[in-house]
């Protein structure tokens, strides 16, 4: 279970405080794949980052016994001058992987990302699609209770999109996801439950269809 208790989160703007959440409490049951819906700029990504504990509420607490991945789609922390392989190694070291585990992850990422010889080239020579493929493959090769995904299904060409969706379906069997997306089709396909974020409120729906209907109502 993920529990939000009286969570308030705001950002300061020149006009005053812009509230993402206002004294919101919520319980998200275990073992559900959750889609996060909301209009642009309502704070979906911020909420996801808060669940991943890399952003913190101004007041209130968020508790959970689960491990969360870093937010996918933020291809952060790659060093342009280092090779794709060296960057993958770095993340493995951060998670304290053994030599054998690291080697397995490297092989997996190399195959999945289809970078070929570029895997041994500095990342600054990559196109943005190649970079995305690398970071997507990297996050798939780690095990977490929850994967945080920020609209990354749209990486690469049509064929790679299909491949990553299939890989994600496979991954969902052993872990849960929190997905931020504007694509209703993807949400329906991958999620059981949904969260709608709107004007400082946050509501949980146990059926993704209900969440989508509510979201469409807001968007009218």
């Amino acid at each position: 279970m993920i529990e939000l208790k009286n969570v308030t989160k705001y950002f300061r703007t020149n006009e005053g405080k812009n509230y993402i959440l206002k004294n919101a409490s919520l319980q998200i049951p275990s073992d559900t794949n959750i889609g996060i819906l909301g209009r642009n700029g309502t704070g979906k990504s911020t909420i996801m980052r808060m669940l991943g504990q890399i952003e913190f509420p101004n007041y209130g607490t968020i508790t959970s016994e689960y491990t969360f991945s870093w937010p996918l789609g933020l291809a952060g922390g790659f060093v342009g001058n280092m090779t794709g392989k060296a960057n993958v190694k770095f993340v493995c070291r951060l998670y304290g992987k053994t030599k054998i585990e690291t080697q397995n992850i490297i092989n997996y990422v190399k195959n999945f990302s289809e970078l070929g010889d570029y895997f041994e080239m500095p990342i600054k020579t990559y196109s943005s699609g190649m970079r995305g493929r690398l970071s997507f493959g990297l996050s798939l090769s780690f095990d977490f209770d929850y994967m945080l995904i920020d609209e990354t299904l749209s990486v690469g060409d049509a064929r790679f999109k299909k491949k990553s969706k299939e890989a994600l379906h496979e991954k969902i069997k052993e872990c849960n996801i929190l997905l931020v997306s504007h694509d209703m089709g993807t949400l329906k396909e991958l999620c059981n439950g949904g969260i709608v974020v709107n004007q400082g409120r946050i509501d949980y729906y146990s059926k993704i269809e209900d969440a989508i209907n509510e979201y469409l109502k807001i968007n009218k």
Partner: protein, 259 residues
């Protein structure tokens, strides 16, 4: 995923960051790598020539080249730790998406990298010294090493304090960079405090860095001593910024992470 012990997480993160920082240093440009190791020699050459032109041949009772090498190594160690720490949060903010990477880890890793590189430079100096038959006898090696470690720690404690400040007021790093050049001339690097008139001595002794450098060369050369060094003053300047820095860091850590 099985839970890892905090100390294991810390060590894994340190190892990863250390190797990454080192890799960045050595891959960014061949010239960068060259200058890392060549700059200290340039500094020493320039000041030896300057001294020969201005004051003529040797008048002091210690080897001036060794004296410069020692002092510049200590000063560069301090300055590099300070400036690298100062920029650590901003340079590494993309890494804070990995929640086990705490901002202060990036400072600690950078300190280790600086100490490591300084170690290599010292090794090069020793090889050169042995090859050219310089007198490398040290009066009190443990105290010299203590001085080196202490000056690193001094750089770290100031670095933490300034890193937090610099995150919210980026002009701090600009001021410090200008200031550090002046600091070089007022830190007993190309002279000893003993050589100066007492009027100037009193002013310079307010500079904490003078005490560190005086301690290091005072324990290195048989003909010098540490009679101007105030160890309590050094302690004060190490603990105060560390305490303030950690206090600010603790309170602002979450804001630094979500930068």
């Amino acid at each position: 995923m099985t839970a890892r012990k905090p100390i294991n997480i810390f060590l894994a993160v340190q190892k990863a960051l250390f190797l990454r920082e080192l890799g960045m240093r050595f891959t960014i440009s061949k010239m960068g790598l060259f200058w890392t190791f060549f700059e200290p020699f340039m500094q020493i050459m320039v000041f030896i020539i300057m001294k020969l032109v201005l004051f003529g041949g040797s008048s002091e009772n210690f080897d001036f080249a060794v004296f410069l090498a020692l002092n510049f190594t200590a000063y560069n160690l301090f300055k590099n730790i300070l400036t690298k720490s100062m920029g650590a949060f901003i340079a590494n903010k993309a890494l804070f998406i990995y929640k086990q990477v705490k901002p202060i880890d990036t400072i600690i890793a950078r300190v280790f990298v600086e100490v490591f590189i300084t170690g290599i430079i010292i090794l090069i100096f020793i090889i050169i010294g042995v090859y050219f038959n310089f007198d490398l006898n040290i009066k009190n090696l443990p105290m010299v090493m203590l001085g080196m470690l202490w000056i690193s720690f001094f750089g770290f404690s100031f670095g933490v304090f300034l890193a937090v400040g610099n995150t919210f007021y980026p002009s701090i790093s600009k001021i410090i960079n200008i200031f550090s050049t002046f600091l070089m001339f007022g830190s007993a690097i190309f002279y000893t405090i003993e050589m100066l008139p007492s009027q100037i001595q009193n002013y310079l002794l307010y500079n904490p860095l003078v005490h560190f450098i005086e301690m290091i060369h005072g324990f290195y050369f048989f003909t010098l001593n540490d009679r101007f060094v105030d160890y309590l003053y050094m302690l004060f300047w190490t603990i105060t910024p560390l305490y303030l820095g950690l206090f600010l860091y603790k309170n602002l850590e979450e804001r630094i992470i979500s930068l």
